[in-house]
Symmetry: C2
């Protein structure tokens, strides 16, 4: 198998770390692996399944030496290096939102639209975490029944705001339990024992950008902007894995048992749906797993025999970020 | 003003305690206040705004001495005492679900259907907490625009499972932070840093009873079972106040700004909707307040100009229980 040289940009972050893990677990044929981060982390040695690797600062030399660059260092860094990736024939797979809505940048969930990745012009975008987690479950339903309306309410973990978000939840929880004062930094308000219906910036239509990403990105990934999609995105005091309550109206009559069967055969999806035995998706079980859990599958009577309702939990650092990026990279193996 | 003798049945519980507080804060004209609880608590002296009161075990003598009995001691206790309340001409206002679906038992949210309370035959039921919190917000919208579809996703606090639920969250959170083992008792699974899409028993249609209560009870309170209503009910690691993401489709065209105005004039509702300044409903703010907070009011594009989406937070021990019960009692003052 032909190997590929890979650089992980933002290798010391939560997503970067998972990217390294995913390269190994997906048996990506890594030739040389280089890790870059900000100057602060340069020189640090990271122990990986590919050996101990010294963190570098990103340079054009690194790109020239790499076939694929997995970027997870924020939009500004991605924008700064886009042209130099192209100039050095290094494919940028970008976890930021910098280029997602550009017409000639493929936005890819490999279970859904792997073929669009091949038409790239140097950059492929990785979708928003909440979108990717919903999309792998919605896609097989869309293919089978045709989605007409999708209504999403999210339960999003603090790790969506990075390691600092998780740490703030842990520290603040201790403070609240000990009767201390709370000083929010990573979030707009106290997150310990609270929820915040506000993720990313408010748009003119009063939805947040996080909420609109679910609409915009699902349309682009599915290649179908006729589906009515709305979302309320809520930050909750959990550490990892996002959950979503989803109601859909379908074009064709949907049978919940058949839908459960369809989902059980879908790649990237694990049906976890045995309510009699208290088995359903939950963040503590979905965390650190590749598959998105779906359960509580039932007919939604509001839309009659065209209605379906279900609950999903997925690891937003994996399918919502690192795993999906490495899956995109794998599309280009053995070409 | 004519006074009424009141007994609180289940006075030592979380809701019972709030009932005593609400009697005072709503300036209910209490003649004699008696407090009852299980044998375990009998003899305990509770300090109230009405003086120190010794907890008794409920007897027929207590009912004979009372005009109104506020029951919050579970369905079995309510069922056991229903006939004796009637025999002693003591109006039972029942916080349990024991009689809610009986045709001749009014199910009352005073802002909505106070007049049905007057037709009681000895018992008036208090609705489920999640239903009551949504109902005060949905009712003015239903009157103005006509509700056709209502889709609810809940974020429910541990206090919905009583004081034991709150204590389990607190204790378990410490255990998780300290790396200890978790032994769920009040909930089916770990609740610390987790969420559980399962409240009350699963029904044949795979919705839980908690979820179906929102449908059944809203239909009964509104006197309109033509509205399509569905709910996903999720337990989350907060202490108090339930939140709900709600999407509605209306019969008539709805303007979000007008809807905001309608809600700002609705009794029992407080509009908390200034996203630019990070102001929206949150459990930590809604806790211990009488009004249900509503915000994030915006057009839901899935239903075109008939779609509205919003987020509510309300104290489920107050509007969801004790406050609503005392408001029902007040209907009978000065008759």
């Amino acid at each position: 198998m032909q190997t590929k040289n890979v650089v992980v940009v933002g290798a010391t972050g939560a997503v970067g770390q998972e990217m390294i893990r995913c390269l190994h677990e997906l048996e990506f044929p890594v030739g040389k692996l280089r890790l870059t981060a900000s100057g602060r982390s340069a020189g640090k040695v990271i122990s990986t399944a590919f050996g101990d690797i010294t963190v570098e600062v990103l340079t054009e030399e690194v790109l020239a030496d790499s076939d694929i660059a997995l970027f997870s260092a924020g939009s500004d860094v991605s924008k700064e290096w886009r042209e130099r990736c192209a100039a050095n024939n290094c494919l940028m797979i970008d976890n930021s939102s910098a280029f997602r809505y550009e017409n000639d940048v493929p936005l890819v969930v490999p279970e859904i639209n792997a073929e669009t990745a091949r038409g790239h012009r140097g950059v492929i975008s990785n979708p928003n975490c909440t979108t990717a987690i919903a999309a792998v479950v919605l896609w097989p339903l869309h293919q089978k029944y045709g989605l007409k309306k999708v209504i999403v309410s999210t339960y999003q973990a603090t790790s969506g705001a990075g390691a600092a978000g998780m740490q703030e939840l842990i520290d603040q929880t201790r403070e609240v339990l000990d009767g201390g004062e709370v000083h929010p930094q990573a979030f707009a308000h106290q997150i310990a024992f609270n929820i915040i219906p506000h993720i990313d910036k408010f748009q003119e239509n009063l939805y947040t950008k996080e909420e609109m990403k679910v609409t915009w990105e699902t349309h682009k990934i599915f290649g179908d902007d006729s589906i009515g999609i709305s979302c309320t995105a809520v930050r909750i005091p959990t550490l990892r894995a996002h959950s979503e309550a989803i109601v859909v109206e379908t074009e064709r009559v949907v049978d919940p048992n058949e839908a459960r069967q369809v989902l059980s055969e879908a790649p990237g999806v694990k049906v976890v749906d045995d309510p009699e035995n208290n088995v359903y998706p939950m963040p503590i079980n979905a965390s650190e797993n590749f598959d998105v859990e779906v359960g509580r599958i039932r007919r939604n009577p509001v839309f009659g025999d065209h209605g379906l309702e279900f609950f999903v939990s997925g690891d937003q650092l994996l399918k919502g970020a690192a795993l999906n990026a490495v899956q995109i990279a794998k599309i280009f193996v053995n070409q």
